[in-house]
């Protein structure tokens, strides 16, 4: 990689790609063009080896307002005061940067995803952070990464004033050299105020307005960097490709942009707004114009820069954070500049930050860059931004079923505490207590108290939004396709468990090297699994991201990691299922799959055994969801949890812990063969099971007074179990 200042033409384009460019241009590309194509044709921007597979994912449905293809998707949330509202969702990864410089990498991940939601014209209402981290050893590089990532997410999200409402963390050796930092952001918007990230009809001669931080050399080469396998020796060099976060400036940019949204609404202007991500000014301005059927002419001398003397390719392609791009009619642009520069004083908030007109939209579909009077880039817009495709060979994934072993006698007395203390089950509070969960005053269920976070995002409205994430790497290691399907099920169940109706999904596919047929095969199998589950459950996928090349120095890939976020709606937040067991003598019902298999479970890890994976029946799943939703609607559900890592017994324990923390001395007595199996389903505390369809439902016990869990006759103290569960991550996150 170049150091960002010399403009050395060391790019990641392959020879065949270079040849294609030469032939199309009929000449050698300029240095600027070379870097532009390098970014735009990188895996990161072009999805060249993934896009044709992603077409198999369901993107339509009655709830879809905006499907995939823009910076974020949008789902219809409901109507308040006669106005239709949508919830906007975006989902990305910031894996490579976070492995190199964890704090900055994770912080800019939040910064970028927030811009993706903001540029749809939405107010940003929440973020989530599914993390896959190395083994939870406080010392050593994985521990440094694990702490830095969490500090970066908190440091950024807290400062911009967006609550962190969902997330998860898995710790495992397979992520030691490649952490996965996925970020999800939610926004709320009136559907008639949505802003698209492409030029609308009639945009010819409109102004192109760049707004935000002064362009600097940081993040030069970021797009192609993200599309390469990390090499530890290169990491010092690659640090130059990571961007620098500025949440302080972002805070002001967000508020100023909200003011601009108000202006556009008043004047009934349809504009275009887009985040600057990979490929910088070039990538953003080329796509926003080309996708509307236009070209662009940009004068790089009009770009506000942090230091003088940067070569044009760095100004054009560098990935300085905290920047966005508007397309606006000239008279509106003047007012927008005034809002950013005078009312919100951007130039005083950060060195040379501002909104500036840097070019105009043209009818010819050419992308033209000028610098010091010379034309340094002049190419067909569609050639630059059009889809390119790499048909790569892949190996079909053979589903790896663990041998059916006779389950050893399960000694609950020792295994239950061991499961609660397992790294995948233990309390995440040491992580999420560093995140502001309640800023904006809209939080209904903060992170950690339930399976999904819940917000009441519209002032004066009872509408609620639920968000949950899932993606279990223990399954990913065994079977990529199954793991993807199961991630959809787990995210959906989590949203149902708080009383919400699932609306749709976002995803991020985190995989290894697409040029290795076995690793690419895992990716393809995951797309199939994801598509199958989403289709069968009628859940459209409206936003997504692919992160490839998550590969270690020894050539092995991360565990197959399809990470899914599910958004749900509560028609009335008063219907939310609140945390913790509520009363004694409630029935405890297990609704849904109760298969006694251990493949991929925490129990299997603790015992060091293998076994078959749970089977998936979409019909049974829909029935279970129907029973739970119906029981919640009739008000008989006192508390509920989706059954996930650690099995039904862990779900009961979590409900008991939440009661304990609220001063309610309520325990439970349950009787079930192996309550540490993780096949799925829901655990519900109900006041009255007389009207519940008990087909596929099992009463496994009831709540009792006092602070004990009695499991198959063995007594556990809830405060003691709580201590076992709450401690394990405290050393890593002091």
């Amino acid at each position: 990689m170049g150091n960002g200042l010399t403009g050395a033409p060391d790019v990641a384009l392959r020879d065949d790609e270079l040849q294609r460019i030469r032939e199309r241009l009929g000449r050698e590309p300029t240095t600027v063009e070379l870097h532009a194509f390098d970014a735009q044709w990188s895996e990161h921007c072009s999805y060249k080896s993934s896009r044709h597979h992603l077409k198999r994912l369901p993107a339509d449905g009655s709830t879809v307002v905006i499907g995939p293809g823009e910076d974020a998707g949008a789902l219809h949330l409901g109507v308040h005061d006669g106005v239709r509202y949508a919830v906007v969702i975006a989902h990305e990864s910031h894996n490579h940067p976070s492995q190199i410089v964890p704090f900055e990498g994770a912080a800019t991940g939040i910064g970028g995803i927030v811009r993706d939601v903001l540029c749809m014209g939405a107010e940003v209402i929440g973020v989530a952070d599914p993390l896959r981290l190395g083994t939870n050893d406080a010392k050593g590089h994985p521990g440094y990464v694990a702490r830095g990532v969490v500090d970066g997410i908190g440091g950024y999200g807290n400062a911009i004033g967006v609550p962190n409402i969902a997330g998860d963390a898995y710790f495992e050796r397979g992520f030691n050299e490649n952490c996965l930092v996925n970020v999800v952001a939610l926004g709320i918007v009136r559907e008639d105020d949505l802003i698209h990230s492409y030029a609308p009809k009639g945009a010819e001669d409109w102004e192109i307005v760049l707004v935000g931080k002064a362009t600097d050399p940081s993040g030069f080469g970021g797009a192609s960097f993200s599309s390469l396998t990390l090499d530890a020796q290169e990491s010092e060099v690659n640090k130059g490709a990571v961007q620098v976060p500025d949440p302080f400036l972002k805070n002001v940019l967000m508020r100023a942009s909200y003011r601009v949204f108000g202006l556009l609404r008043e004047r009934k202007i349809v504009a275009a707004f887009k985040d600057l991500g990979a490929g910088g000014i070039m990538g953003c301005s080329a796509e926003i114009t080309a996708q509307g059927g236009y070209g662009a002419e940009i004068d790089l001398d009009k770009v506000n820069v942090a230091i003088e003397g940067m070569p044009p390719e760095v100004i054009a392609v560098g990935e300085t954070q905290e920047r966005l791009l508007w397309l606006l009619p000239a008279d509106v642009a003047t007012d927008v500049l005034r809002i950013y520069n005078e009312e919100f004083t951007l130039p005083q908030v950060a060195h040379n930050a501002r909104a500036a007109v840097i070019g105009r939209v043209t009818a010819q579909r050419r992308y033209v860059l000028r610098y010091r009077g010379a034309t340094v880039m002049d190419v067909e817009s569609d050639f630059l931004t059009g889809s390119i495709r790499d048909e790569l060979p892949y190996t079909e994934v053979i589903r790896h079923q663990g041998a059916v072993q006779e389950l050893p006698a399960v000694d609950i007395e020792t295994l239950f505490p061991a499961v609660l203390a397992h790294r995948d089950v233990a309390s995440r509070e040491p992580i999420y207590r560093r995140y502001d969960a309640v800023v904006r005053g809209c939080t209904v269920l903060p992170r950690g108290t339930a399976d999904a976070g819940v917000l009441a995002p519209i002032p004066g409205s009872r509408l609620g939004v639920a968000l949950a994430v899932a993606g279990n790497p223990r399954y990913g290691r065994i079977d990529s396709g199954f793991a993807a399907e199961f991630a959809v099920l787990e995210a959906m169940r989590a949203v149902v468990a708080v009383g919400a109706r699932p609306l749709g999904l976002s995803d991020c596919l985190n995989f290894g090297n697409p040029r290795k047929p076995d690793q690419y095969g895992e990716f393809v199998a995951a797309v199939d699994g994801l598509g199958r589950a989403a289709t069968r459950l009628d859940l459209p996928i409206v936003s997504g991201n692919v992160s490839l090349y998550n590969e270690s120095a020894d050539g092995s890939a991360v565990p197959a990691s399809t990470i899914v976020a599910c958004v749900g709606v509560l028609e009335d937040v008063a219907q939310v299922v609140t945390p913790g067991l509520k009363e004694t003598r409630s029935a405890l019902l297990w609704i849904g799959s109760r298969e006694l298999v251990v493949g991929g479970s925490v129990l299997a890890e603790v015992l060091g055994i293998e076994g078959p994976l749970p089977s998936i029946s979409y019909g049974a799943e829909r029935t279970a969801v129907g029973i739970v939703r119906d029981a919640i609607a009739r008000g008989v559900v006192r508390s509920c949890r989706a059954i996930r890592d650690g099995g039904v017994l862990t779900a009961v324990a979590r409900l008991a812990f939440d009661a304990h923390l609220r001063g309610r001395a309520i325990g439970a007595e349950i009787d079930f063969g192996n309550p540490l199996c993780e096949a799925g389903g829901f655990l519900c505390e109900v006041s009255d099971d007389s009207e519940i369809d008990l087909t596929g439902t099992l009463r496994i016990g009831e709540t009792i007074g006092g602070s004990e869990l009695v499991v198959n006759g063995i007594r556990f103290s809830i405060p003691q179990l709580y201590a076992v569960w709450s401690q394990p991550l405290a050393e890593l996150y002091p």
Partner: protein
Amino acid sequence: MSGKIAVPVFPGTNSEDETVRLLGDCGGDAELVHWSDAERLGTYDAYVLSGGFAYEDRIRAGAIAAHDRIMDFVAHAAERGKLVLGICNGAQILLEAGLVPGTSVGRKPTAAFAKNAPEPHFVCRHVYMRLAVEPSRSAITAALPKDALVPAWAAHAEGRLAATPQRLDEIVAGDHLAFVYAHNDGTVDAAAVPNGSALGCAGLVNRAGNVLAIMPHPERDGWNFNHPDRCEGTDVLAPSGGAALFRSFVVAVA
């Protein structure tokens, strides 16, 4: 006719909208005033400095904002007896500006909200603040019951009251310790304190009683939907919980 309340916005403020909204839902007449519009601040009857990271909390939380043009108006108003409530970053700014605890003459800080201990990082945790002075000690708390427990969220990295032993004695002797952290039954011990604050301090009031600085955010536990398991009455959208302090403030402004 109630008085007009300004919620000033510094670059970096982040809790302004919910603060204005809860003041409104409690019957107040509140609006935002941005930094570029600071000259308007002279015309208000009361001020609420909301949470956030004004000026990025450079140097120390609140240190830069304390010298902002906005604070010229706020300090002038405070000297004339107008009501000023600072929440979280707003409280840090009031301390840095020397407006609370007000044990010295002039705008000089005599105490600080320092880095949390023993966890020296941002902590987000639900808390209760117990009124530790007579309600009438401050006009802002006058409508609260004696020993009132106000639910709120602590969400800060720098909220530990720190001062010399002599200054701490003055805070106690001068009846400046307005709120202490407590459990939900009103009991007070170290486990109830999220940040190691001296005296278990959650809030300080100035000598005259018209300026109150609190670290936790009552507005984040200010409506029934913020605490659905402690719903007061049937309307999930109604102000409740932490709103008690905002109501008392609004009553005092009227």
